[in-house]
Subunit: 364 residues, 2 copies
Amino acid sequence: MTTHVRIVGVGLIGASLGIALSDNGFRVSLEDPSPTAVRLARDLRAGEIADEVTDEVTGAPDVVVVAAPPDVAAKAVVAALGRWPDAVVTDVASVKEAVLVDVLDSGADSSRYVGSHPMAGRERSGTAAARGDLFDGRAWVVVPHEGSTDAAIKRVREIATAVGSAVRIMPAHEHDEAVAAVSHVPQLAASIVAACLRELPESAVGLAGQGLRDVTRIAASDPRLWTQILAGNAPAVRDVLRQVRDQVDDVVAALDALVDAGGEGSLGTLSRVLEAGNLGHARIPGKHGAAPAAYEVVSVIVPDEPGSLGRLFGDMGHAGINLEDLHLEHGLGQAVGVAELSVVPASVEPLRAELTRLGWRLHD
Amino acid sequence: MTTHVRIVGVGLIGASLGIALSDNGFRVSLEDPSPTAVRLARDLRAGEIADEVTDEVTGAPDVVVVAAPPDVAAKAVVAALGRWPDAVVTDVASVKEAVLVDVLDSGADSSRYVGSHPMAGRERSGTAAARGDLFDGRAWVVVPHEGSTDAAIKRVREIATAVGSAVRIMPAHEHDEAVAAVSHVPQLAASIVAACLRELPESAVGLAGQGLRDVTRIAASDPRLWTQILAGNAPAVRDVLRQVRDQVDDVVAALDALVDAGGEGSLGTLSRVLEAGNLGHARIPGKHGAAPAAYEVVSVIVPDEPGSLGRLFGDMGHAGINLEDLHLEHGLGQAVGVAELSVVPASVEPLRAELTRLGWRLHD
């Protein structure tokens, strides 16, 4: 039987989820305080517009996904639990402990409630930015509480899996601490760095390069939404932000010493902060959630002749060596490039020997 | 006559410049303390290896580009001014005032020295990462001093222009203040945010999304190089970093108030920081240095049928309306998308009327 999902709130997340679920054979009905938004979502094929008439036809939903702003999420969850006494209810708010506490305090039948947080978002918000592949390959945190039934957890997992996400089960407080470091403080850092550009002369902002664009991309995010998220996760965000402040203080002190005094030990402080950044950055897993593996790189010069890259892969294949990753350093219109072949450490020497024998030029 | 450029130092910037200049008809000779690096650069077609034999053949260079690490740049510039008494000498160090002071203090003929800073880089460094299109479409800051001759300035402009960069003329102190805000403090922010990931449990870093990846991409940069850059621009970096610290302090205080007290006024503080980030982010010019223009957006629903986007552009063309920018919201495999058409404000109403008349469905 087709699962019927009611989506309450058709902003970026709700409308994207509607598109993805509709594409995957779910029956989706949509509601939102804004009639314009719900019509746009319908036009984007996120689902049918829910009203009393369709409710009579379709019956009650099996699952309700509350995709409302964080500060009204708990209230909408409680309302849904009361309105549909057999439905499993989840929400997608970025902060989970605060929603859970309110739901448990409400006296509603919370055994049918399981929190969610799809780790998918964009610097743009609103229905028009919706896209069906938003959740594809992303983590979807499923946050059961002690009273959640297994059946309810299974329903929510089913939805996350259907839209291509990888499910991670995590208690609410653990989730909130994690996102403080991997999402909420990075948002603040981007906003604060971007804020420093406000008063710069035009000639100075004209020097912006790709590094600045990347660091500040999410500074374009919706301040109203993010104020709610940060306030909803205040204790955990504060803990991480204090670490940031301590490091900023250290660097300011080192720069002070360089400017005002001889700067003894200052270079060591700067270097330590930058190296700590290297180490932290290296912990971020690959795009599809795979842990970064300890491969080694063999660099090969590839001439820009027809078929030379194909010949290289053919030669590797004949050598029986598995390519784990490939990075091509090859500028547009550039005559020669470097192919960086990642292989398991045990394959490095055999690969180097074989490629050299076949006339390839290697570089360290 | 072919211009002969000597590149001193073939790391990422030097080797990339060699490739780009060679591609554009310059004669390029290369030197570097590392024989391995200079051979790799030669293999990447960045130029010929300079030695006494080739110097006899090619004669002295017309222009010397010092692409050495920042802490030895001034010394290499002074050496080049002495070694080739007719050559124009420039350097590419990311900090300009410190290099200039040392060159002026050296007693060398500084009239032939003009500083440079191509605003091009990558989170990767070293010769193997070189690419000929590194400077294409980027800003190249040319930093003359009071004694620089017009002929010397012209030579350096010629090189920047040849590799596709847009030249910006700026005094050294103005350059250093600008890059503190658009490059050096963003680097520190990325490193510090990434550093907070070091101690996280595996399950927490597993939640990393695209926002974190973007904010921390440049945290993978070379700590040795960046220690030199930050130390070389200590006064200007310190000034901007103090602004960052003040904002971090404000946010920590607001979160403290939310956690420990009623949080009166705290949401206002959070919201102000996020809004300031919006404003600063909006000042970053487009990829090719164009100022962000005040266009208005008309959103059109585009069905995923063959030729529907082409039909839309045809209809716009017939209406005589110029498309300034286009943003397609269309997920992979998604049936329907939204096309956001940016036009000058005066065209909004005519465009909406014409598209509606032709049967397109518009959305606000």
